[in-house]
């Protein structure tokens, strides 16, 4: 038998619906196609004609896991078009809101979706019997993120409190202070979960990725920064479309994004860590090293360590922001619509998320462009699968499938977001 097809019909423990097809000829992996069959969602089209002020709430509906990322990229893009800047405590509250989403999203992926891969369980439910404490801690972490999100966003799922210019309502000092004990406990849970994850064994895979992430003058990036890479990319968000190109592939309802100059690249926690480790502080960087994560790491399986470090960071950062909080006099700054184009890029839990809006003089949206992290990682995920499948080509089919699925889950793909994204099919010929 010279040819073979392996099919993963429904990828599990990923958000949304997609599949993977591997074509193997004479023992060589010829084709890897990650296809996303979530139906197309036409967000960019139906945003046209709507008020730019609606963009944060409309685009938040793209994702139930990372709505804050959509709200943040949307408000910053619209504010760029309107020529307004949101600073001081309002800016700090936006960073705090982003911390909440990182905590919630990363905790879910680390414990409920990704950890079972390292411990040989089919899912978190099967894993919970033997690793109950870790699961409880992970869920407690997620809960702390939820509570923060609910306070700042108005509700846990699809928050509604962000507006162009700031917020509809800002929290009181007392409301934020009430969350401090839960966050202090969350920090202990994050450290315990990180140590648990640090004890996993990691497949020996090293890739020479081009990492792309935001870079800010003095912060670990969330809302703001230049788009940089380890190969010299250094651009403003407004230059995104000049540097990156979205391509259509026939087998997927998601577009694939590539760097015009060099092709495939990686966004997300591993890229952020590698490009911004010096913004984490010495203590956390030492903790990362203790877990087995060092700057320059190209092992996608170790991305779970980067998430664990980032959860810890997000909790500490949230506590710092709460400590320094003084309620602003107004919940938002005045935002007057004007014609123009605004672009913004922020760091969603899964990597950079780009928005551009062309806005008419009456404040309505003429054109919208949204490039989510999963479509940027799609081609790189295929490369990872190709490498893992090539190394594991002689494995029994069931193990090969497992390895391929793991290679995908390393990147916490958010399929619904990417749809405009999983089944594994391996065809051996």
């Amino acid at each position: 038998m010279a040819t073979k097809t392996i099919r993963l019909e429904y990828l599990t423990r990923v958000e949304g619906e997609g599949s993977l097809v591997l074509d193997v000829r004479e023992g060589n992996v010829e084709n890897v196609r990650l296809s996303i069959f979530e139906p197309p969602r036409f967000f960019e089209a139906f945003l046209r004609g709507r008020a730019a002020s609606e963009a944060p709430d409309l685009t938040a509906r793209i994702c139930g896991i990372c709505p804050v990322a959509y709200q943040m990229s949307a408000v910053h893009a619209v504010e760029a078009a309107f020529g307004i800047e949101v600073g001081g405590q309002l800016r700090a509250l936006r960073r705090l809101l982003y911390c909440a989403e990182w905590i919630e999203s990363h905790a879910l992926h680390i414990v409920m979706l990704h950890a079972p891969d390292f411990l040989g369980f089919p899912d978190a439910i099967a894993m919970a019997g033997a690793h109950g404490e870790a699961v409880r801690r992970g869920l407690a972490l997620k809960k702390a993120g939820n509570a923060l999100l609910k306070l700042l966003g108005g509700r846990e799922v699809h928050p509604v409190n962000v507006r162009v210019g700031g917020f509809y309502r800002v929290p009181t000092q007392a409301e934020l202070a009430a969350l401090q004990p839960a966050l202090a406990e969350a920090r202990e849970n994050a450290v315990a979960v990180a140590r648990w994850v640090g004890g996993f064994s990691f497949p020996d895979v090293g890739r020479d990725y081009e990492f792309v992430a935001l870079r800010h003058a003095d912060e670990y990036p969330m809302n703001e920064g230049r788009i940089v890479s380890n190969r010299g990319l250094d651009i403003a968000a407004a230059e995104f479309e000049a540097a990156f190109e979205e391509r259509q592939v026939a087998y997927s309802t998601a577009l694939q994004s590539v760097l015009r100059a060099r092709g495939h690249y990686l966004v997300g926690p591993l890229a952020r860590f590698n490009l911004n480790h010096d913004r984490l502080g010495g203590e956390l960087l030492a903790f990362a090293a203790e877990l087995g994560l060092r700057p320059g790491c190209g092992n996608p399986f170790r991305s779970i360590l980067a998430r664990a470090v980032e959860v810890t960071y997000a909790i500490e950062e949230a506590l710092r922001i709460i400590d320094a909080y003084v309620p602003p006099r107004e919940p938002s700054v005045r935002a007057e619509a004007r014609a123009g184009t605004g672009m913004a890029c922020t760091e969603a839990p899964r990597g950079i998320l780009y928005h551009r809006y062309g806005i008419e003089a009456d404040g309505s949206i003429a054109e919208a462009r949204i490039v989510p992290p999963t479509s940027q990682n799609q081609a790189t995920i295929e490369d990872d699968v190709r490498l893992v499948a090539t190394q594991g080509i002689h494995l029994p089919e069931e193990e090969l499938r497992e390895q391929c699925e793991r290679a995908i889950r390393n990147h916490d793909p958010c399929i619904s977001c990417a749809t405009h994204f999983l089944r594994l099919e391996v065809r051996r010929r």
């Binding site: 949304g16 409920m112 919970a128 109950g132 869920l139 939820n146 509700r155 846990e156 799922v157």
Partner: protein, 152 residues
Amino acid sequence: MTAPRRVIGLGNPDRGDDAVGLHVARRLAARGLEGVEVREATGDALALLEDLASAAHLVLVDAAAPLAAPGRIHRLDPLSRPLPREIVPASTHAFGLAEVIELARALGQLPARLSVYAIEAAEFGAGAPLSAPVAAAVERVVERIAAELVGG
């Protein structure tokens, strides 16, 4: 303090019959059953884990997948077996009720008494009210739950 008896209605208030659990919870709350805590839950299903762990007798009310008979009431007993997928389907987007109950079972956090009332839905239109057959089932579910809690 003894662990509480608790009813939680689940659903999305803005998606037609998906709101049926919330309607049932509101009617039960209005009855003011002594020693029974009634709540509505519209958010993250994983948050139910704590409610499962901390109750002595928990009743969950949710809309079921549309099957043959809209408004038909299924009383499910997750302590004896996992929730049937054809009634409480899984999602590729989030952890659902069935997963959360299984997670609680694995963690040894199920309450001593647990029942799930699943009401077969007809439609989930955005902004739609309950469909007639599902609206008609609300009072019957309320009666059955009240009888279960008071009787037990």
